[in-house]
């Protein structure tokens, strides 16, 4: 039975479609390096946030170890590319190794601790993530420690690579954009993100997704109907860890650098959390909107705050709070207010508009 969309839901879907279109044509629409950087980051974070939403929004599991899995993927690809030299075999091997480590760790954490209360699980994942962070900085011969690793991506993604050449052997330009390796790299990120997102979306609308929601809403009843709650939870924890790990590998290939700040730090975990809550928990669309808003804010809000801080130079404390480095302060406050007043986030709230009750 098809469900009639509310006007709000339609608006959200149109917005998401627009975002997807903008991302698809991003290299041609925004022709500077920074904008492309932002677009790629948005693609990766949409996947990362959506996979986190599988946990927190659909199943009601609060995990703080999501960046750990992202980091496993990143470091897997990074170490393979560093040790084996640039090549697709290194990318594949690194991504697989990262995914395998993620799976093993996720199964271990899941089986040990998903039986206990949500709060215990949150604490245990937090501790595990911090251990991973410490390990990354301690095993410096492998991970480069605090400095991270720089390496080269496969040759196809070099800026000097010519995708299409005209009769003179020069790079073909479309709409004034040279079709070089940078474009190839962006579309590699975009396509991978699209595929991962589509797989997750398919998962949420499948019968399995319904079971997950049932577990979130009433664990005891789901168990009583005959679903093995721990098995389902462990499964979804592993699935989301796997997706996060793959997203990490893709991002590592794009950035050509992997370090604690880009792949493992707790700041990324907070970003993901903010994105999920701002966008709206329990809908895949929310992940898209949240990731777009937050990444844009990260890149462009700071400029705005810098200007505001200078304008208020004479006032005590305010300039310090408006300092571009303090932007998390304001996001934190917005976050708290959102959890209070709009627990469904932007998308969830809009989608209810026009609903017949």
């Amino acid at each position: 039975m098809a469900k009639q969309d509310t006007t709000g839901a339609r608006a959200v879907k149109i917005a998401v479609f627009l975002i997807a279109a903008l991302l698809l044509f991003a290299p041609f629409l925004f022709q500077d390096v920074r904008a492309l950087e932002v677009a790629a980051r948005i693609c990766i974070f949409i996947v990362l946030v959506a996979s986190y939403d599988l946990l927190i929004g659909y199943t009601g599991i609060v995990s703080f170890a999501h960046t750990m899995f992202f980091g496993f993927g990143s470091y897997g690809a990074a170490i393979a590319l560093k040790q084996m030299g640039p090549g697709w075999d290194a990318v594949a091997l690194g991504a697989l190794a990262g995914a395998a480590v993620s799976l093993v760790v996720a199964v271990a954490i899941g089986l040990v601790s998903l039986r206990v209360k949500a709060i215990f699980f949150a604490m245990i994942t937090l501790a595990a993530a911090s251990v991973a962070l410490v390990l990354a900085s301690q095993l410096s011969h492998l991970t480069g420690g605090e400095d991270g690793i720089t390496y080269r991506a496969p040759d196809l993604f070099k800026p000097a690579t010519k995708l299409l050449t005209d009769a003179d052997g020069k790079v073909v330009e479309w709409f004034g954009v040279k079709l070089n390796g940078k474009i190839a790299a962006y579309y590699f990120v975009f396509t991978s993100a699209l595929i991962l997102f589509a797989v997750m979306f398919r998962l949420t609308v499948s019968p399995l997704g319904t079971v997950l929601v049932a577990i979130r809403e009433n664990e005891a009843r789901a168990e009583a109907i005959g679903y093995r709650v721990v098995a389902y939870r462990t499964f979804v924890f592993c699935a989301s860890a796997l997706v996060a790990s793959l997203a990490g590998s893709v991002y590592a290939v794009w950035l050509k650098y992997t370090g604690p700040d880009t792949a493992l730090s707790f700041a990324i975990m907070i970003d993901i959390l903010l994105m999920v809550v701002i966008g709206g928990m329990g809908t895949m669309w929310g992940a898209v909107v949240g990731a777009v808003l937050m990444v844009m804010a990260q890149y462009y809000l700071r400029d705005l705050m810098g200007a505001a801080s200078e304008a208020l130079a004479g006032v005590p404390l305010l300039p310090d709070l408006l300092n571009p480095d303090r932007w998390l302060f304001w996001l934190g406050i917005i976050f708290i207010l959102l959890v209070y007043f709009f627990p469904k986030g932007i998308v969830g709230t809009i989608m209810q508009k026009g609903a017949r009750t």
């Binding site: 009601g60 609060v62 709060i119 949150a122 707790f266 209070y340």
Partner: protein, 330 residues
Amino acid sequence: MDRLAEQIGRFGGVNLLPVALALVAFVLIGAPSSWVTLTVAGLAMGLMVFLMASGLSLVFGLMDVLNFGHSAFISFGAFVAASVLIALNHWLVADSVILNALALAFAFIAAIGFGLVAGWLFETIIVRPVYRDHLRQILITMGALIVSEQVILAIWGGTPVTVPRPHFLEGSWIIGDVSIEVYRGFAFVLGALIFVGLHFLLNRTRIGLLIRAGVENREMVESLGFNIDRLFIGVFMLGSALAALGGAMWAGYETLITPALGGEMMIIVFIVVIIGGLGSIRGTLLGAIIVGLTANYVGYLAPKLALASNMILMMAILMWRPKGLAPAVK
């Protein structure tokens, strides 16, 4: 085998765990003097961590509220105390033990006072609207943690702050070939005194009786006509104040503090309350001492494993006793 278990149970059961740990470490370390130094350091660290963790554990036991923002009190306590000590520096360098001690006392009182007020604000503004909703609790207290970390960064800046120590707590006692830092001894004694005080409060007074009854069965206490909510604010404020005091003592112990301090301690505090069992003061003390000892022993024997060791310890104990070593009766 059963008889052995019974014997162990009679002599204190899980309470013997730190002793067993110390014995194993004694064999592994070999040198008695280093062992004594490490044990004292571990006990001192354990008691400071106990102060930080006790509030978290009690608040959870009484109200089923887990405050992820708890570490904010720890770092605020550390920074408030550091500021007071820096402001009173001329008392610290003075050649009078009384002035030295007064400066230290003021610093601790400032931290405690801050903890009480901030705890009250935190409870009424942040936590109260989300009672009995674990998901939103975790999110909101996490948000509050982000905001308070940013406030610390805005006020004190990102550079490490050097904390001056009172003169009479500098240096070490040398007994034979064993050297013990004076500050560690001081932290141990103060922590032990506060534990005894808390134990007395919980087990010998009427308020303590109500708190313990509330942890065990909240509805029953409420139906007997006691206002658990008011009691809870009190416990929350007390817990925050203890965390701030723990942070202040930790600041003096480390002597160099950064805004990242709260986050680092938070992991340890979590591990402690999980090991000890949420909601019980005795369990928290036990967990804190085990974690403190392990951290110091492993830090000496295999420095690279130091943080991972706590994690492994927690996993092992959770497999053995999923509710922690000495959980509160529910």
